[in-house]
């Protein structure tokens, strides 16, 4: 895996193009006509709450679910007609591990390569390389079941690389992992990106999206509600800083009226939660001082930069969708 020169994203060829892409299951519309493009070398993210249509979109890109309508081209090919040819050039990390429990760690990589029709000779060296990449060389001959969650995930990612894919599809790659395991995985994924692999991932961890994605779309209810680079999305849909004022539960009542004069600039707004008041403003420290002047007496205050999480909650709402 040698790192080629990174092309500027805009000039790189489009590897995945979707137009009006739709997926229905009976009456349920999982994906409601979305447009997007992914270019070579990019790390592209699908963000959204559960049920937003991320996984359905990923399955259509992975050529394991036909689109109900709309147009999809992957590597320039139509998945309806060329599914196997496209899949031969994809790596897939599904949401739930589908490792082969009847085989050892090494055999999982080896046999998976055989599914792609890779010849035995070259495959052995490849498997050794992937074991090192996944930091599993010392567990090569162990069965899969007793491995930790992080190890299984690393093995799944290593497995997805056995055919040297041009595009790697990762469906919630770090869900359920502890912070150490997540950081190790991010490191591995970052290396892959550096080596020129195009990453397409879904996540509902905003820090993950900020760490990994060059560009992302936010999905909600089967539609794309925002698109852009993480920093651009924050600039567009949130303010520079957020001042959080924490109260006793219920203590934030009446805050809106008192804060009416605090907000000044364009796009500045206040959000009142039962135990907290969030001030989306350009100058957080100044807003806190103004709030105290206005007679608010919070238990504690915190000023921070806006994050993707603020954008996400703004766009997809705070109510729970299951």
């Amino acid at each position: 895996m040698v790192a080629p020169e990174q092309e500027p994203a805009a000039a790189a060829p489009v590897l995945i193009a979707a137009r009006g892409l739709t997926k229905r299951f009976g009456d349920l519309v999982a994906v409601a006509g979305i447009d997007f493009e992914v270019r070579r070398g990019e790390a592209f993210g699908f963000l959204g709450p559960n049920g937003a249509g991320k996984s359905s979109t990923m399955r259509m890109i992975g050529c394991v679910a036909p689109a109900t309508s709309g147009e999809l081209r992957i590597l320039g090919l139509d998945p309806q007609r060329y599914g196997p040819r496209i899949r031969a050039r994809l790596g897939v990390v599904p949401q739930q591990d589908t490792l082969d429990l009847e085989l050892t760690v090494r055999e999982n990589l080896y046999i998976y390569g055989r599914y792609f029709g890779l010849p035995r000779e070259g495959l052995r060296a490849k498997v050794d390389e992937l074991l090192r990449f996944a930091q599993l060389s010392d567990r090569a001959n162990a069965k899969v079941e007793p491995l930790s969650g992080g190890m299984k995930r690393r093995l799944t990612i290593a497995r997805s690389l056995v055919n040297d894919p041009e595009i790697l599809l990762l469906d919630e790659p770090t869900t359920g992992l502890d912070p150490q395991a997540r950081h190790v995985l991010w490191d591995r994924l970052y290396r892959l990106k550096q080596s020129g692999v195009t990453l397409v991932l879904t996540t509902h961890y905003m820090d993950e999206a900020e760490q990994l994605c060059d560009r992302l779309v936010v999905m909600d209810g089967g539609r794309i509600v925002a698109e852009g680079a993480p920093a651009a999305l924050i600039a567009e849909h949130s303010t520079r800083e957020v001042a959080e004022l924490r109260f006793e539960p219920g203590g934030s009542a009446g805050a809106v009226e008192r804060l009416a004069g605090v907000l000044s600039g364009a796009g500045e707004r206040v959000e009142v939660l039962p135990d907290r008041v969030l001030l989306y403003v350009e100058d957080g420290e100044g807003a806190v001082v103004s709030a105290l002047d206005a007679g608010l007496r919070p238990l504690s205050t915190l000023v921070r930069r806006s994050t993707l999480e603020d954008v996400f909650l703004r766009l997809t709402g705070r109510s729970l969708v299951d």
Binding site: R87, V92, P94, E102, L103, G117
Partner: protein
Amino acid sequence: MSVDVAAGGLLRVVPSAVYAGRSRVLVERATHAYRHTWLALVSGFFEPLFYLVALGAGLRGLVGTVTGPGGTPLSYPAFLAPALLASSAMNGAVFDSTVNVFFRLKYNKLYEAILATSLGPLDVALGEITWALLRGGLYSAGFLVVMAGLGLTASPWAVAILPAALVIALGFAAVGMAVTTFVRGFQDLDIVQFALLPMFLFSGSFYGLDVYPRWLQFVVECLPLQHGIALLRALNVGAISPGLLGHLAYFAVMAVGGLALTTVRLERLLLR
């Protein structure tokens, strides 16, 4: 191996989304998987042997000589052995294509993982059935050697028992895998086992069908195992007749129908 010949022919008629022509990779996978559980493999060989020893040797003195196909007089163990072989071909194939396939389909998510590669559902169906067939064939070959060693083979035609047993295993494996795609839980698999036992007991394994009233004979003659037993028993004594083709046709229909249904079902379950 004949699988590759079949692969070439199938590739011309089936779209590449369904079949990549590499079903043998699943057999390769199985050989790796069973390295870790070889004991489970070996046990299948001993089951018919225990029946043969217990019933054959035990009842030999009580039963004396029986009349086999074509009026051939046979010792009771020589009458019994082909039926046990047919049953073990059935049991091996059904166990692999139901319990093991169900585990891989629902818990191991093996087929889901495979269909994300460049393989198709027909590769999966064909590969798994081929493995079940090879496993059944190994048992049959071992049992046939024991039969020959004990002097229970009654004509040179007995050699044909091995390929015939493979045809039986193929039919049962294909139908077994198709049934498995409808199975919702392990309870359903118990029903499969529950259906196999009476078929084994009443398909004429231990005695000729002429002990039954005519209507019951007719019912039993519809069951697949009875065709397998009749086929192997006739081959053992060399009673060759056009009727044997009827038995083979029965299993050919099971094989083709089971394979087609399995492919369609895997597509519907995993590629939607």
